[in-house]
């Protein structure tokens, strides 16, 4: 260790106290260095970080006499005063005993309890019967002896004193336990060397200010205090991306690394793209007000060719299917909604794709909305990441492979798949990730292969399309240890500052 380098890194207060640290008493160091206790303790901490000294913090507990305790020490404990009275009268009614003893109601009750516990009295028919003999009356109780011995170190209490302490602790202000912290200073070899070296604080510029910078003679040729990179410093909370955005960026990175292109679009969608293009019947319950957030406006539908193909798919079916067998309503498809899933972007993308673009892989990450009652586990908004792979040569196994890879990259090693049903995919699958902490499966993935009723009207012919839309918020909650979903959207600055960086 370069001693001069170390000296150059000392702060003014460290230098001030260094000559006096051999005193080893904070009060003495304060007195001699002319610094207050807080500054001295802080400077000692800095010196400790530089391995100049070691500090050990000790807590000392003392049992001291309380306000009532001081009074009782003078006048005697209430039970002693009652005992003296009963010694004179031998038999007293309860009411008379309280009056004649001049004790308060609480003191009287406590005294009765204490004497009864020691079998010095008996209570019968509202009267106090005195049972104590002369020796018992004259003998000091453990409590009285303990009171006289105060103050006393908590660690040195004998079993009798511990008994007395417990007995008096339950009574108001008789005793109090105080805790004092003390710091033991031990100077290290480096510290001894440093003290022996001698420290001069002059000619060193500790802090730069505009005054110094304005006058050249104030800084030119002078030495500046060394910037100690390793010193602990107060935390400054700089700006950073919201933790939900960090996670969505990460999902984006995963998909792009896997060769996917991003699909983007408005959060306001026509029912056509959100439902109809995905073969969701117009009388499906999901299209009710209690599930979907509608906007009181309508929009134009896309190209007539696509609209008619979708209409046909709903009414009559495609490729041998029977469709939903109802009369498809164009006006219903024009209604605007806050998108309930990002799969609407997959539908729009599929409609734009041409044969020569294949094979093609797309993803989206974005917010979706549903008309849910907000509680710890449900929100009206949530994040979803959607993906499609359009390729003549893909199959259901490939779909499971993509999902598994995504989950693994998100940090979830254990994943299971279950058969499921969605209106626009067949076969369909749901995926769960294993929560090691709670020892349970959490449902996060929903996927399948688009039905021909989706692909044929949009792409013009049936083609294998792997499609998925994992909910994102549950993965986020698990990573950040959030128990209440609402916390994802709170602008609590303390929480936002404390949130760790999304790293997998």
């Amino acid at each position: 260790m370069n001693i001069q380098r170390l000296i150059d890194s000392l702060s003014p207060n460290e230098k001030k106290i260094l000559p006096y640290i051999e005193e080893k008493k904070i009060s003495e160091i304060c007195k001699k260095s002319n610094l207050d206790k807080v500054s001295v303790v802080r400077a000692l901490e800095y010196l400790k970080n530089k391995k100049i000294l070691n500090l050990s913090f000790k807590k000392k507990k003392t049992v001291e006499i309380g306000i009532n305790g001081a009074l009782y020490k003078k006048k005697g404990l209430p039970e002693r005063r009652l005992l003296n009275l009963l010694n004179e009268k031998r038999l007293l009614k309860l009411g008379d005993a309280q009056k004649q003893s001049s004790l308060s109601k609480n003191e009287f009750k406590a005294s009765l309890g204490a004497l009864k516990k020691k079998a010095l009295i008996e209570l019968k028919n509202g009267k106090i019967i005195f049972n104590a003999n002369k020796e018992e009356i004259s003998k000091k109780s453990l409590e009285e002896m303990f009171l006289e011995s105060l103050p006393i170190k908590y660690d040195s209490l004998s079993p009798e004193q511990t008994y007395a302490l417990k007995s008096l602790q339950n009574r108001k202000n008789i005793i109090r336990i105080t805790e004092r912290k003390s710091i033991d200073i031990e100077i290290t070899d480096l510290g001894k060397k440093l003290i022996g070296y001698g420290i001069k604080s002059h000619d060193l510029i500790e802090q730069i200010n505009p005054e110094i910078l304005r006058k050249e003679n104030l800084w030119k040729g002078k030495k500046f205090r060394r910037y100690d990179v390793t010193s602990p410093i107060p935390a400054i909370n700089g700006g950073k991306r919201h933790f939900v955005n960090q996670a969505t960026d990460y999902a984006r990175k995963i998909w792009t690394e896997m060769g996917f292109q991003e699909m983007t679009g408005s959060i306001i969608m026509s029912s056509f793209w959100n439902f109809d293009a995905l073969f969701t019947a117009q009388d499906h319950p999901v299209r009710e007000m209690h599930d979907t957030l509608f906007i009181n406006k309508k929009t134009e539908l896309p190209d007539k060719k696509i609209v008619n193909a979708v209409k046909n798919s709903h009414e009559k079916g495609v490729g041998g299917s029977k469709g939903w067998g109802y009369s498809w309503n164009e006006e219903e498809a024009k209604r605007l909604v806050l998108r309930t899933h990002t799969t609407c972007l997959s539908a729009q993308t599929l409609a734009k794709l041409k044969e020569q673009d294949l094979p093609a892989k797309f993803f989206s990450v974005g917010k979706c909305f549903r008309n849910e009652t907000v509680d710890w586990n449900h929100g009206f908004e949530f994040n979803q990441t959607d993906g499609i792979v359009v390729d003549e040569n893909v199959n259901f196994s490939n779909l499971l492979g993509y999902l598994k890879q995504f989950a693994e990259k998100m940090g979830f090693k254990k994943i299971r798949f279950r058969p499921a049903y969605f209106p626009y995919t067949e076969p369909s699958v749901e995926g769960d990730i294993w929560d090691e902490e709670r020892k349970e499966w959490i449902e996060v993935l929903a996927a399948g292969m688009f039905r021909p009723e989706v692909t044929e009207p949009l792409f013009g012919k049936p083609i294998p399309v792997l499609a998925w839309g994992p909910g994102f918020d549950r993965m986020l909650m698990k990573f950040y240890g959030i128990k209440d979903m609402r916390e994802l959207y709170k602008n609590n600055i303390t929480q936002l500052r404390k949130m760790r960086f999304w790293m997998k």
Binding site: R5, D8, T230, I236, N237, K240, M499, F501
Partner: protein, 123 residues
Amino acid sequence: MKIETKKIRLLSISKNEHRSEYSFLREQKFFEMIRNLLLRLGFEKNDWVNGFGRPWDEETEKPILKKENDILSKDYDEQIITFSNYNYSIDIIFFSKKIFVIFNYKKDMQQEISKALDSFVLD
């Protein structure tokens, strides 16, 4: 690992249990300092680390180790370059006169970083 490097002027520090931020003067020595710092922090000596601040050979798709880009080049203005490994995600942000280096970490690594940096910064 003993790494010789030119020392660089450090302008500011901020650290907490989740991330540390350091700002430096935008000077040519910065590239070498970061390359060495990354190695000291346990990053693999790969093309991405070796190629930081260096031109790339388009044919071989490898960095040209004998050359270094001009740090004051406009190409770097407001650029963010990220390095990440299992422990760190490091963002290097170039401003006109300063460069901010933000270390995000999984567990509290503020002391490890400051110790690693200590030998690279001017007293």
